[in-house]
Symmetry: C2
Subunit: 405 residues, 2 copies
C-alpha cells in the first residue's frame, strides 16, 4: 500500500463482528464477560481465531492480555482496548477499541501494509483490580501484587489467570515491540451526545483524588437537645458540602468534576441528632496542579466547618491517580482526521474515566479517540452508540494513522 | 393533716426505693425492663407490694398500668409516670416519677391526708408502640389498635398483656377517679444541667412534625459526567439542608428544634453521581401554629431546591403529634413552689420529648416537673441526676400540691 494513504477498512465487517461478540456472554441487551470467566475466555478464543484468520500471530501473555501481531520486524502501531466487561455491562465498552484494532490490522494486511498490531487487555473492569492487565504489562504494578488481588468470592488473580493458556499460545510480548498505542473507546459520558458531536479527541485522562471525611459530634435526643447545645455531625456534612461548591466555583474549569457519592450517618435515626457523618469526596481534573489546589481547598473547607461547629474531623485518603496527558503529536493527528471527517462535529476533551491508556502511556506514545455514548449511558445493558458513529470513529483512525509515530 | 401544709415526705426513703428498683433488671449501671418482660413484671409486683404496705389498693388494668389508690371517695390527685425502660436504659427515666408518687401518697397516708394516688403506666418506652398504656387509658388509642401492636420479635401486645394478672388484681380504673395528673420526670436533655439549675416547670410538651424527603436525579459515572449535565441527588439534599437553616432562622424560637437524622443515598458509591438521596426532617415546637408554618416552609424550600436542580421530589409524612399545653393553674403552682425551694435555679421550659402526660392531658388537668439530667444523657446506662436534685424535685411537688386542683 502507498504510504500516507488511509488503510481501506471495511466498517460493515467490523460492525458484524461487534454484533457477533455481543452474543458471547449475552444477558438481554447487555453482556457479562468478567475477566477470566467462561464468557471472557470464549470471547478471547474467538478473537484469537479472527487474528489468525487475518494473518496475525495470536499471543496471550501470562496475564491474559491477548495480542494479534503482524509478521515482520520493528516497532509497529498497537491498537486496542479490552474485551472483559462489568458484571452486567454494555455491548461496546472496551470491545469497540479491540474491534477497531482487529479491522484495521486485517485491512492493513490485506492492503500490504502498514504493520498494525491489536490488543485486548485483561481485567480492565476490575473483577480483580481494574486496569490490571495493562498495569502489569506497562510496569505500573508488580506481578506479585497483581497476583494477590482477589475477586468478590475470594478467588485470586494468580488462580484465575491459569486459564490464560486456554486462549492461545502463551508468550511474552514487550512494549518495545510497538511504536505507539491508540485506544478507540466509547465516551461513557454525555458530552458528545448532548452536543450532537461524533468524535472526541482525548487530550488527557483526568487524574483523581479522593478522600473520606468523617465529622464527629455527639448523638443526642432530637427532642430534648436545644439547637445551640448540639454538635450535629450531619450539619457539618451539609455545611461542608455547600461551602465546597462556593469555594470551588472560582477554581474549576468545565473539565473539573467533584462528587460526594457515599454518605454514612450514625446512628441514622429520625429522632436522634447524628453523632457521626462521613462523606466521600472525589475530585477529577486533567491537571495535577489544579487537583492539588482543589484537594487543599477541600481540606481547608472541611477543617473550617468542623471548627465552626465544634465537631471533630478525621480524614482517610482514598484512590488517587495523576492526570495522564496524551501524546501531543498523536493527538494532533487525530484532531486533523476528526476535523476532516466530522467538521464542526468533534471536540478536544479530557477523559473523566480511566482507561488502559492510563498505564500504557508510561511506556508508549499513547492517544485515545472517543465516539458518543447515547444518553451518556455505560456500564449498563442500555449502553449504545449509533452504528454510523462507530463507523466514523473507525474511519477517523485510518485517516490519522499515516501521521502517527 | 392541716390543709395547705406540705405533705411531710421522706426523701431518703424514696432514694432507697430508687436504689432498690435499679437492681430489678440491672445491666451494669443501667436497667433493662422492657414492657411486660420478666424484669418489668417483677418491678411492678414490687411496686404493688409497696403500695399495699402504704395502705393503698394496688390495681392493675388490663393494659398493665399499675395504680395505687387511696381509700375514700371522690377524685384525687394522681402522681406518676412509668416503670418500663428502653432495651438498655438508665435508672431514673420514668421510675423517678413513680417513686415520687409512691412516697407522696404514702407520706400523705401517714399524715392523715390528703388522698393521693400513684400510677406506673405501661409501655411508655415503646416495646410495642410507645406511650401505649397511657394512650389506651386516656382514650387516645383504640384498644383493638393497641392489641395489634407487636414487638421486634413479632409478639403482639394482645399476647404480652396476658401477664398483667401476675402484677396485681386486675380492675378497671377510670380517669374520672382523679382530679389532676402530675408527672415528675428527669429532663433527658442538657438545658437545666448546663445552666446549673435544679427544676424545670413544663409549660407545654412540644409537638412533632416529621417527613422524609427523597430527591431523585440520575445516577451517572462520576468521572465522565460534567457538572452541568448532572442531576445529583446529594446536591439536592445538602442545598436543601443549608437553605432550610437560613429559612428557619427568622421563624424559630429557642424552643424550636429540627433534625435531619436519617440519610439514605443510592447507589452510595464514591465514583457514582448519586441517583437518589432521602433525608428525614423532624421539627418540634411547643406551638401548633409555628409547627405548621415551619412544615410549610420546609416543603417550600424542598420544592424550590428540587426545581432549581431539576430533581424530582417525593415526600412521605412521618410521625406527627400536636403540642400539648400543660394546665396553667398547675403550672403556676409548680412555678411558685420551684421559686420558693430553688430561687434563681429553676426555669419555665417546654418538654422536647413526649411523655405519658401527653395523653393524660386529654382527660385530666396535667402538669410536669423536670429535674436535671447530668450531661443531658438519657436512654443510656450513664443517665444520672444528683441525689440532692432528686430530693428537691420531690419537695417542690409537696410544696405545690396544696395549690393543685
Amino acid at each position: 500500500m502507498q504510504a500516507g494513504r488511509p488503510i481501506p477498512v471495511n466498517p460493515a465487517r467490523m460492525l458484524a463482528e461487534l454484533d457477533e461478540l455481543r452474543t458471547i456472554g449475552a444477558v438481554g441487551k447487555g453482556v457479562s464477560r468478567l475477566a477470566f470467566s467462561g464468557a471472557d475466555i470464549a470471547a478471547r478464543i474467538w478473537l484469537a481465531g479472527r487474528m489468525r484468520a487475518a494473518g496475525l500471530e495470536a499471543v496471550v501473555d501470562p496475564w491474559g492480555n491477548l495480542f494479534g501481531l503482524p509478521p515482520g520486524e520493528g516497532p509497529c502501531l498497537l491498537i486496542g482496548s479490552h474485551s472483559d466487561t462489568q458484571p452486567l455491562g454494555g455491548w461496546l465498552d472496551g470491545i469497540y477499541g479491540v474491534a477497531c484494532g482487529l479491522e484495521i490490522a486485517r485491512a492493513a494486511r490485506e492492503a500490504g501494509g502498514p504493520r498494525i498490531a491489536v490488543v485486548s487487555f485483561q481485567d480492565e473492569e476490575g473483577r480483580f483490580g481494574g486496569l490490571t492487565g495493562s498495569a502489569v504489562w506497562a510496569g505500573a504494578m508488580e506481578p506479585e501484587e497483581a497476583d494477590r488481588l482477589s475477586d468478590a468470592e475470594g478467588i485470586t488473580l494468580a488462580e484465575a489467570r491459569q486459564r490464560a493458556q486456554e486462549i492461545a499460545d502463551i508468550g511474552e510480548v514487550s512494549p518495545a515491540q510497538f511504536a505507539a498505542y491508540l485506544e478507540p473507546h466509547i465516551e461513557q459520558g454525555p458530552v458528545l451526545d448532548r452536543a450532537g458531536e461524533t468524535l472526541g479527541v482525548v487530550e488527557a485522562i483526568a487524574g483523581v483524588r479522593s478522600l473520606t471525611l468523617t465529622f464527629s459530634g455527639e448523638a443526642n435526643h432530637a427532642g430534648t437537645t436545644p439547637m445551640h447545645l448540639r454538635r450535629d455531625a450531619v450539619r457539618g456534612l451539609y455545611n461542608f458540602a455547600a461551602a465546597l461548591d462556593t469555594a470551588f466555583a472560582p477554581l474549576v474549569t468545565d473539565r473539573t468534576v467533584w462528587t460526594l457519592g457515599r454518605i454514612a450517618v450514625d446512628p441514622n435515626a429520625p429522632s436522634i441528632v447524628p453523632g457521626t457523618a462521613s462523606v466521600s469526596v472525589q475530585i477529577r481534573d486533567p491537571e495535577t496542579a489544579r487537583l492539588d489546589r482543589l484537594m487543599a481547598e477541600a481540606m481547608g473547607v472541611a477543617e473550617h466547618t468542623a471548627l465552626a461547629l465544634e465537631l471533630d474531623l478525621s480524614v482517610s485518603q482514598g484512590f488517587s491517580a495523576d492526570p495522564v496527558p496524551m501524546d501531543p503529536r498523536m493527538t494532533e493527528a487525530l484532531a486533523e482526521a476528526a476535523g476532516g471527517i466530522a467538521p464542526g462535529r468533534w471536540r478536544r476533551m479530557s477523559s473523566g474515566a480511566l482507561h488502559d491508556a492510563t498505564h500504557v502511556s508510561r511506556v508508549l506514545p499513547t492517544a485515545m479517540l472517543f465516539v458518543p455514548s447515547i444518553g451518556g449511558i455505560s456500564h449498563n445493558p442500555d449502553e449504545d452508540t449509533k452504528r454510523a458513529d462507530l463507523e466514523i470513529g473507525l474511519l477517523a483512525l485510518t485517516e490519522a494513522i499515516p501521521h502517527l509515530p
